[in-house]
Point group: C2
Chain length 211, copies 2
């Protein structure tokens, strides 16, 4: 079973064993049957014309009051009964799941956006994503101030909505954020877990209907 | 007395009565004597060649352990004995002053940076700076989620370092942030207040030395 998670920048491909990542621009879709979720309007038309491509968008039975929730966020939350789901990519999305119900969430610019924002404001503001700082103390130089100002708002925002719920991090920058949360769980393939779950549910339903 | 506060995007000019604002690009510096602070490397060379221009950079007697603090932040803090100084422009700087000593601070991308960051991530993420949201509740649609995610981190970051100190807001986006702080003071001309203070101190010192 081939699964594709198509984002604004990258496509992630899961073949049942391994995940590989490729840029969206110039990406060649597989000729063999695949299931996908897609949040990138620029490739939807191409996907619609591929007979081997199955869009999972309408398959999720997802309880939320949030209007316009991206299918990538739905998929990431779909296998989580209780928890805060943080998907840290070009955007950072944060969603709260309680008893299988989506209670709301928000979107922040990702870590690479911060780097671009600072560079655009002044050539003196060079953000180093490798720099790890102690968030408990006020920074005393520009390099630490930029890291502090990039990471701490994200940490505060997550803590604010986390309350008693477990924290689950996924996405390309999850590793960076793991430095700042003592009890978080890093689940790289959370979106694929959600996609697999919805495909299995559909198979069970169809089997039941066939009986 | 003519004062110029030269930033990365704009120049603010104070003539003793009114403040006007102009873009840095193509700005014609006054022919009459003026005092200035400047954080924009691209115009420093021009300024150095103007005999009527006096750089206040070296004039401030400012106690801080922070290395590389911008002269605009020093000027904004200079007239504040105790307080959190927030200058919300193309960058948002936050500094803590206690008993006339600078205890540290940080820099965040400004509100307009958030707009650009979201637009760059996806055409679906349109941030409206006029939108005011209730930060106490999780947003339930994309428009509110973007405002929430832009404003709330800034508010949390400021509250985190504010503690018992009064909050003073300045800069072009101070008005937007005032919606979210019950007890903040909006002082538009804080940087000019600091510049005036340092000029007066120098005059007093010179008078004293002449006696």
């Amino acid at each position: 079973m081939l699964l594709l998670d198509i984002g604004n920048t990258n496509v992630k491909i899961y073949d049942g064993a391994e995940v590989r990542r490729a840029g969206v621009v110039g990406f060649g879709f597989p000729d063999t049957p695949f299931y996908y979720i897609n949040v990138n309007p620029s490739v939807q038309e191409v996907l619609d014309r591929l007979p081997q491509a199955t869009d999972l968008r309408g398959w999720f039975d997802f309880k939320t009051a949030y209007s316009g929730l991206g299918v990538d966020r739905i998929a990431a939350c779909y296998s989580v009964q209780n928890g805060i789901v943080v998907d840290a990519g070009s955007a950072i999305t944060v969603d709260r799941m309680r008893e299988g119900v989506h209670e709301g969430g928000f979107i922040m610019p990702g870590l690479s956006s911060a780097k671009d924002s600072f560079a655009k404001i002044s050539s003196k503001l060079v953000y180093d994503p490798e720099n790890v700082v102690d968030l408990k103390h006020l920074p005393q130089n520009t390099a630490d101030a930029l890291t502090y100002a990039t990471i701490k708002p994200i940490v505060l925002m997550i803590e604010e909505i986390a309350r008693d719920l477990p924290l689950i991090l996924t996405g390309g920058d999850a590793g960076v954020l793991m430095h700042y949360f003592a009890n978080a769980e890093h689940r790289e393939d959370l979106v694929f877990e959600g996609m697999q779950k919805v495909i299995e549910e559909k198979a069970i339903k169809e089997k039941r209907n066939a009986c």
